[in-house]
Amino acid sequence: MNLGLINGYAAVALLMTGLYIVLAYDNPIKRLIGLSIFQAAIFVLYISMGRIAGGTAPILAEGFEHYSHPLPHVLILTAIVVGVAMLALGLALIVRIYEEYGSIDEQHILELEREPDA
């Protein structure tokens, strides 16, 4: 097996772990954490693609010929910040749901909704 592929395999494994957390658990805060792990896997994938052997960070300096590609860095920088904004919004929604229904358990809320005088 080509050892240079471990980043790709690890990214896929992290992706599936994040997806498993989202699918298997009901608690919405846990699922948001799973979503963050999912995003982190994508970050690992992109940054691994931008790297070049024998290169350095894309800051132009004397004595360096190869630089890693700046464009994946730019995209992932945007993605990280948007990810934390999404996390904050998701957590605010969860807090409001908890205050309205008294619980964040999905089954419990559905039961409360089904009662005629909720």
């Binding site: 960070a57 920088l77 957590l91 605010a92 205050e99 008294g102």
Partner: protein
């Protein structure tokens, strides 16, 4: 959030460290062109300084140091700065966000100026939004009467 009483080491060390954090954030903001850094990192680190202050000394003191009213004005100011540069270029007859409109005689200098202004806008918005979100979460009382001791 009530401040704890028996944390003298934490209070003294925090008082020493917070000015360094804020200074480092300013350094990252303006040296983002020569080394790693830029608006996003600087905004987050600046907000983290105030979050640390709120965690150790209480939300009331932190709200007095950086009131939410000021943050309500800084956040749109950052976006306005960024979009304003773009509209300014439009009004001068260039494309949107084309920095040569700032200094048509020296395009490289114009790029530097443009990048400086928009990074400042980015830093302002990211700092104020993150701190406002923290204030919103930290300043909220629990809806039921449970305390932390009742929870797992």
């Amino acid at each position: 959030m009530t401040p704890k009483r028996n944390n003298a080491v934490l209070r003294v060390v925090t008082k020493q460290i917070i000015p360094m954090i804020l200074l480092f954030a300013l350094y990252v903001q303006f040296h983002g062109e020569y080394g790693p850094g830029g608006g996003f990192q600087a905004g987050v680190i600046f907000a983290a300084g105030f979050v640390l202050y709120a965690l150790v000394f209480g939300l009331d003191l932190a709200s007095r140091a950086m009131p939410a009213r000021a943050l309500f004005r800084i956040a749109p100011l950052g976006v306005l700065l960024f979009a304003g540069v773009g509209v300014y270029s439009l009004l001068k007859g260039y494309a949107f966000l084309d920095y040569t409109a700032i200094d048509p005689h020296d395009p490289v200098h114009a790029q530097h100026l443009g990048i400086l202004i928009i990074e400042l806008g980015v830093g302002l918005t990211v700092f104020s939004v993150l701190l406002l979100i923290f204030y919103a979460f930290a300043g909220r009382r629990r809806a039921d009467s449970l305390t932390h001791k009742d929870m797992g």
